[in-house]
Symmetry: C2
Subunit: 479 residues, 2 copies
């Protein structure tokens, strides 16, 4: 059976969904929780809970089986015991229902012969009858533009990020992370065991979806690894793929702990494959989200020279250290920039140069703007990191000093920066007020097209990824 990329579109845009295996009342992960979440998220299509023993579930008419529905549902979600899945797949085939998401677990992931046998059955039925099966053992599709947001950020936000993942929970958190910063996830898919449709199918699908501009992938094992990497190599010429490789299963991680050498070797293999295929390797939730946000917003840098704008001597030193440790450069500014800076930067308590240590950048947005303009003109500068402070009680600013962040955001919203520019809004610690203001500020900056990160260390990681990707793909940068 040939599976065309456009065949998968229906998974993300169903107008009617049948949920097979919804208990009458008990709330638990499965058909019931999916039905509940789809209602909560305001799914605009028709929902058909199927349970032969119920008349109505969560206020919706329930049906005894797929054959008794008033229409052909465009997507079928199965949440029944694993042993029942093959028979229901046969029923779907008989009814010409082709798009099936199998939530149920109890297949090969159990490590039992019965589980493996059931999974082989699923694969062979799908192949013989031409079914498109997502899973088993997965959360399935997520697509805010069609209201199909049963398990990621609710409400969802349509946007340029696509996600293909072997972990539902990790993808849930990723969608929350980026959506709350104003960067939407257009399509996500939790592929589970991938018995029929695997990462390759969805990579091809998202590569062909023009609205997806950057693809995040979380994989623990690569079925069809060779094909996946071959495909990735093609896709990364068009759009970046940010790959988070989870260690192998629990047993694998255990082995790794006692045989560090083999783990490192394994890691090196993946890193090598990443490099060859042009994927961007990341290693944590924060780095994954940060990098996807950055790629969705920032243009290609012309080099790896970063201009650091902020205040405080220690801050400036530490920020330089963090950028250089990551492989970036903090180059001297050109003489013409320096001449202009020397006219405005105070001699005592500030340092004109790169990093620029000048507290005026916090308090005067017009001044900050001029500094940014100088940086965009300076050939030594490829990227810009601006440190923003949250006004704090501990700081020695006049008690009536205004918070200039809103003005800065309004300015950036009008003037989209000409070189990759990111902000850092530090709000660490346990102070709820700082936490909420830091999070909101980062969201406001990110929505204004200027990704904002919680630390310079994280910003530096992301900019190095950006440089590496574009240097490799030849869209900018120099290797």
């Amino acid at each position: 059976m040939e599976i065309r990329s456009e065949d998968l579109e229906r998974f993300f845009t169903p107008e009617s969904v049948a949920l097979v295996g919804v208990p009458r009342s008990e709330f638990r992960l499965g058909g019931m929780s999916f039905l509940y979440k789809l209602q909560e998220a305001g799914f605009p299509g028709r929902l058909y809970p199927i349970n032969p023993k119920a008349d109505a579930i969560l206020g919706l008419k329930a049906y005894p089986g797929l054959s008794s529905l008033p229409e052909m549902p465009q997507l079928v979600m199965l949440s029944v015991a694993a042993t029942q899945v093959p028979a229901i797949l046969e029923e779907c085939a008989a009814l010409r229902l082709r798009h099936i998401h199998v939530l149920s677990s109890g297949f090969a992931e159990m490590g039992t012969e019965e589980g493996r046998h059931l999974e082989r059955q699923v694969a062979s039925i799908a192949k013989e009858r031409g079914l498109l099966v997502m899973g088993p053992n997965c959360m399935g599709p997520y697509c805010p533009s069609s209201g199909l947001t049963a398990w990621g950020a609710i409400p969802g936000l349509d946007g340029p990020v696509g996600v293909i993942s072997q972990s539902g929970l990790i993808t849930q958190r990723l969608t929350e992370y980026t959506c709350s910063l104003g960067v939407g996830v257009g399509k996500a898919v939790s592929i589970g065991n991938g018995a029929v449709l695997d990462a390759c199918h969805f990579l091809r699908h998202m590569a062909e979806d023009a609205r997806i501009r950057v693809i995040g992938v979380y994989l623990e094992t690569a079925r069809n690894g060779r094909e996946f990497f071959r495909l990735a190599r093609q896709v990364t010429r068009k759009k970046p793929i940010v790959l988070w490789r989870g260690g192998q299963s629990e047993a694998g991680a255990r082995t790794a702990a006692s045989h560090t050498g083999s783990m490192a070797g394994e890691k090196r293999v993946w890193e090598g494959v990443c490099r060859q295929s042009g994927m961007v390797p990341v290693g944590s939730m924060g780095e994954w989200g940060d990098t996807l946000i950055a790629f969705s917003a920032l243009p290609a840098p012309g080099g790896k020279g970063v201009f650091l704008v902020g205040g405080g001597g220690g801050n400036s030193v530490a920020n330089s250290d963090l950028c250089i440790a990551r492989g970036l450069e903090v180059p001297p500014l050109s003489e013409s920039t320096m001449e202009k800076l020397r006219l405005t930067v105070p001699q005592a308590g500030s340092i004109a140069g790169n990093p620029l240590d000048d507290a005026t950048t916090f308090g005067d947005v017009g001044y900050l703007t001029n500094v940014l303009e100088l940086a965009y003109e300076d050939p030594a500068v490829a990227m810009v990191v601006v440190d923003r402070l949250l006004p704090r009680k501990a700081y020695h600013m006049p008690p009536d000093a205004p918070d200039t962040n809103p003005e800065a955001i309004a300015f950036l919203d009008r003037m989209r920066p000409r070189k990759p520019t990111v902000f850092v809004v530090d709000s660490d610690g346990g102070d709820p007020e700082l936490a909420v203001r830091g999070a909101s500020l980062r969201a406001h900056y990110t929505r204004a097209g200027v990704p904002a990160f919680p630390s310079t260390a994280r910003a530096a990681k992301v900019l190095m990824h950006l440089y590496n990707h574009h240097a490799r793909s030849g869209h900018g940068g120099q290797v």
Copy 2:
């Protein structure tokens, strides 16, 4: 002049402070902002602003000079032009005022001959007249127990952390970070140019202060480097020193950018010295704060085996990866622990073992408690990391599921964990509600004696530092 450690105590516990050089009205960093902050913080002692042209400043009677004060102030803060400092120091000496904090900048840090000359004058006057001079060019002392909180977290919180730093802003943020999580900074000092009193003096002082249990140091250059490292080697046998080494000045960072080799070499030298002297090297604000908090709260681990408790397959894999990447181990549990776990961990959708993937740990505190007890009995487990979720709209939990975090905190508050135990409360992204709940939760857990970090990556870094320190100093662990 011999300077005894106890002579420095007065800097942190003055009952009266004279501020020389407070402008009549204009608010700016210096005497005025210090006076304002001391009032705001409710400093309980007497404050004497000195300005020959004013009768009153900020509601306080102003005096024309030090000699006209109604008492001998126990601390003098100078915020006058650098050129005036030597004469005022002479005046202090004549009045037998010995504890002087020179805020003023304009000394050697200017890089001018005049600046260097003035700094030499300060040093020689202090030496000849037996003055104890902090600075110049620094924020000076900070001590919540005596209400001297002019520039760190306001309100401050007394506690076991001591800080010696060459950066005021970085120290301000550190105090905010730890204090807001409930871990107080008992004493901090921003030493500036250290013309008279340098890092060695304060390291000795804090080593001898029994209430300080862990010392954080931020240094960019080490005056008396040899002496500092010799001293550190002694101190780390008694209490941990967590050293953040800032790159050298702006020019140094620049050089480093074009000569990466020399930078790396430099870094290696410091790392070697850290290792030899037993200090714990860190590289960012977050890591500095996290590590100080952990050392203030956690006992010595008996090894580097970590037990990971949480839910979600991907989470478990990723958390193992992060710990192993940092040098920790994620060992198999002993057979007797496994027997007990197999009785309670569901077979489908969970994994009994290490990591433990069992969502029941989120929803049932009694269950989590039993799991922790098993871990404390198991000889394979030296440390524990517990993943806590913030209940989120995206999660498939029953809509009426209670948040069990308060119950878990109450439990931990009664039962202090028997092995180093930390929690992870992830709240990344820009959602203000998650941010505020994440920050509060981390603070509540940390106050209950269980440090809580925003990511497993950060928790793993800290636990590896803890293991390394104790393995080295022989208080526990095995090398």
